[in-house]
């Protein structure tokens, strides 16, 4: 309890237990819902990236591919920040 007062006065430096739980849950549910094994997901992510980078320059670090369930269906949601568009498709490396 004394720790609680301390935390309340000075604020927590660490991520709260609830936030950690929520983040972990989100990740685990993503895989549960799709029934796609993690290595396959990673492979898919890599290949999507490969194809897209033919046309656009992608911020790879900010790329976020996830699976969400809505109205009984699973949807692939990808957030892909684009740095710039290639004017001509560059010779893509074949996967």
């Amino acid at each position: 309890m004394s720790l609680n007062i301390w935390e309340r006065l000075f604020g927590k430096s660490e991520k709260s237990a609830k936030m950690v739980a929520k983040d972990r849950l989100r990740l685990v549910l993503m895989h549960d819902r799709a029934d796609i094994p993690a290595p396959m997901m990673e492979e898919m992510r890599r290949e999507i990236l490969l194809v897209l980078s033919k046309y656009v320059d992608i911020d790879e670090k900010a790329l976020d591919v996830s699976l969400e369930r809505a109205d009984g269906a699973v949807a692939l949601i990808a957030s892909i920040p684009i740095r710039r568009v290639h004017l001509e498709p560059s010779g893509a490396p074949t996967p």
């Binding site: 739980a21 685990v28 109205d71």
Partner: protein, 270 residues
């Protein structure tokens, strides 16, 4: 003239989250509102709903006796001692989950509907195997009970998917055993967190605080919803009213237990 009764399965995936307690309390609360309620214990081999209701000494026949023709449905139904609107169809204790198949469960439900029960609540066994499939077979609506805790939410998500596969879409969610103080301190998932993670396909039906009264009332065989003096019982009575279509605001569970609250109370007392 009778309107068709509702058949609702209470499920969770994970065991120990409070399915049976929830089924018992909602049943009691609905009966107190004048509904004619039948509770089916579908957890065959692990009979527990009788204990929650304090009816364990009255069991003569069970659901397996009914489906195997050793007893008539009416003979197996146990009337609640306190409210004649409520009956229990107990599970068999000595058999296993295969003793009642999906078709037989549907028949039991149909027979209960013919007896003009307005609510039939099915207490589903934990797990996702045949027992779950049999228990859900007769239902047209589902309540998912989850604790604000990772394993429970994960299993609830899985169950929601399986319910959809059984055409029980948009289940109702009860978040059970919420500890307000921990939520306030960012130590426990909040109701909003649980909803957010599970997505829009579930509709929040109720929030039940973690309450010691549940343990004492279960020990006495008197569901908490019978007693006006505890918060969990109030939460269950509200759930029953919401089920009947009433708009009931969610309980204010702000626990006055922080350091300053206690300090304040101490000063107020003196």
């Amino acid at each position: 003239m009778s309107k068709a009764g509702r058949v609702i399965v209470v499920t969770s995936g994970k065991g120990g989250v409070g399915k049976t307690t929830t089924a018992a309390n909602i049943g009691v609360a609905l009966a107190a509102l004048g509904e004619k309620v039948a509770l089916i214990d579908a957890d065959i081999g692990l009979r527990n709903l009788d204990l929650a209701l304090g009816l364990e000494n009255r069991i003569v026949y069970d659901i397996v006796d009914v489906v195997e023709g050793r007893a008539k449905l009416r003979q197996a139904l146990i009337k609640d001692k306190r409210n004649p609107n409520l009956v229990l169809l107990p599970a068999a204790q000595t058999r296993d989950k295969s003793a009642v198949n999906s078709r037989q469960m549907q028949q039991v439900v149909a027979d209960l509907l013919a007896e003009e029960f307005t609510y039939i609540l099915i207490d589903c066994p934990a797990g996702i195997e045949q027992g779950f499939k049999n228990a859900t077979a007769g239902a047209t609506e589902a309540i998912v009970v989850a604790n604000p805790e990772m394993a429970s939410v994960r299993d609830a998500d899985r169950i929601i998917g399986l319910l959809e596969a059984q055409e029980l879409c948009n289940p109702m969610l009860i978040v059970n055993r919420l500890r307000m103080r921990m939520v306030k301190n960012q130590e426990m998932l909040s109701v909003e967190d649980v909803q957010e993670v599970l997505g829009n396909s579930v509709k929040l039906l109720g929030i039940v605080p973690d309450d010691e009264a549940i343990i004492t009332s279960t020990n006495r065989g008197e569901p908490a919803a019978m007693d006006d003096g505890n918060l969990a019982g109030q939460a269950y009575r509200n759930i029953a009213r919401r089920l009947r279509g009433e708009e009931v605001p969610f309980l204010n569970l702000e626990e006055k237990n922080g350091f300053f609250d206690r300090l304040k109370r101490r000063f107020q007392r003196n």
